[in-house]
Amino acid sequence: MDKHRRKFLKIAGASVVAGIGAPAIIKLTATPALASGQGVAAAGHEAAPAAEHGGQGGHGEEAPQGVRLGMVIDLRKFNERPELLDAAIATCIAVHNIPEFPNSKDEVKWIWKAPFSGVFPEHSSQHSAKKITGNPAVSLCNHCDEPPCVRACPTQATFRNSANGIVAMDYHRCIGCRFCMAACPYGSRSFNWYDPRPYIKKYNKDFPSRMKGVVEKCNFCSERLALGQEPACVEACQGTGAITFGDLNDPNSGVRRLLDKEFSIQRKPSIGSKPSVFYIV
């Protein structure tokens, strides 16, 4: 085994020089030059995550460490052009081989439309402006900084990636107990009640499907970020400013500049899960 590992490391090490092909639009790790080297070193051991990320919550905010990818969704833009949201949803379905079940009880949803009052129950007001609350809002995984689903998972099949803050799923490990679904305060997780394959309309050959009996959800397009692309929904809205994506810990990132400028809200802030998806209403 050791021999194999050494050999593997050699190849991997040599390939570090090649680096990521396309120029990354989004800074994915705190120290890009080192990150790949560290990754290879860590590869031999059982996952070393979780240990790094600071931010224990509690009293006062600690200085944020590393990268925390996040999203700012400008609902005003979607209200103006509802077809934009449909396009974003359709792209996500196509890119991620998401099945479309006829029966709503079996539904698998990564990003979807929902009534404003459902998405923002803590922001409902008795006499609200219908032009805002009358329109559907968009719901997806919040990639929380303190994710309740990760706390609940008994196998670490879902975990917070300490390098970029993405709450990821390892479908190979999920036992399908659905504890994470009970734990998610946003209803962002879906279970594969059946084999999803027959319900996938078109296959994207570069992405797997899922299997029956595992939980799935939005992955912030980790696979696209690795190729230097933006998440599919962000790309679908390119040039409109409807969705902005970037590092929430970087004061100069696009998301932070937008958040500094506009009033934004997070879903169910009282939960304390610190969502990384922000909304401008």
Partner: protein, 133 residues
């Protein structure tokens, strides 16, 4: 010898039954060594030696899986100028495009059913539903 008439046929049946795997595999093709078909594109080089891959492709795949999914290490391997993203579907199947003639030949022989294909799509499968991109 008592009960010759029952004991001897009984013994024969017993021996035949116990040796079933041996003569069955000898008479049929089930025992023939599998001959996995090499990549149709004529690709000769893999990310590792054939010996290593034959013995340890599953460990390598597991390692790639953990690298990509858990450690966020999606480094693209470059070997002899050829680039390999760490992925069964995105790297392996590009050359070994016929899972049925490559993977399955040994897996069937060894009677293993890896669950890779529950999620990962084979080229044949993607072709069955018009792929995008």
């Amino acid at each position: 010898m008592y009960n010759k008439g029952t004991i001897i046929p009984g013994l024969i049946i017993f021996v035949l039954f116990v040796t079933f795997p041996i003569w069955f595999n000898g008479l049929t093709t089930a025992g023939d060594l599998p001959k996995p078909e090499l990549p149709p594109g004529g690709e000769k080089k893999c990310v590792e030696s054939a010996d290593y891959m034959r013995a340890s492709h599953m460990q390598l795949l597991n390692k790639w899986r953990d690298n990509v999914l858990r450690d966020g290490n999606r480094e693209i391997l470059e070997i002899d100028g050829k680039k390999y993203p760490k992925g069964l579907q995105t790297a392996c199947m590009n050359c070994h495009s016929q899972k049925e003639k490559f993977c399955d030949s040994c897996h069937t022989y060894a009677a293993v059913e890896p669950y890779c294909w529950d999620c990962h799509l084979t080229p044949k499968e993607t072709a069955s539903k018009e792929a995008i991109h």
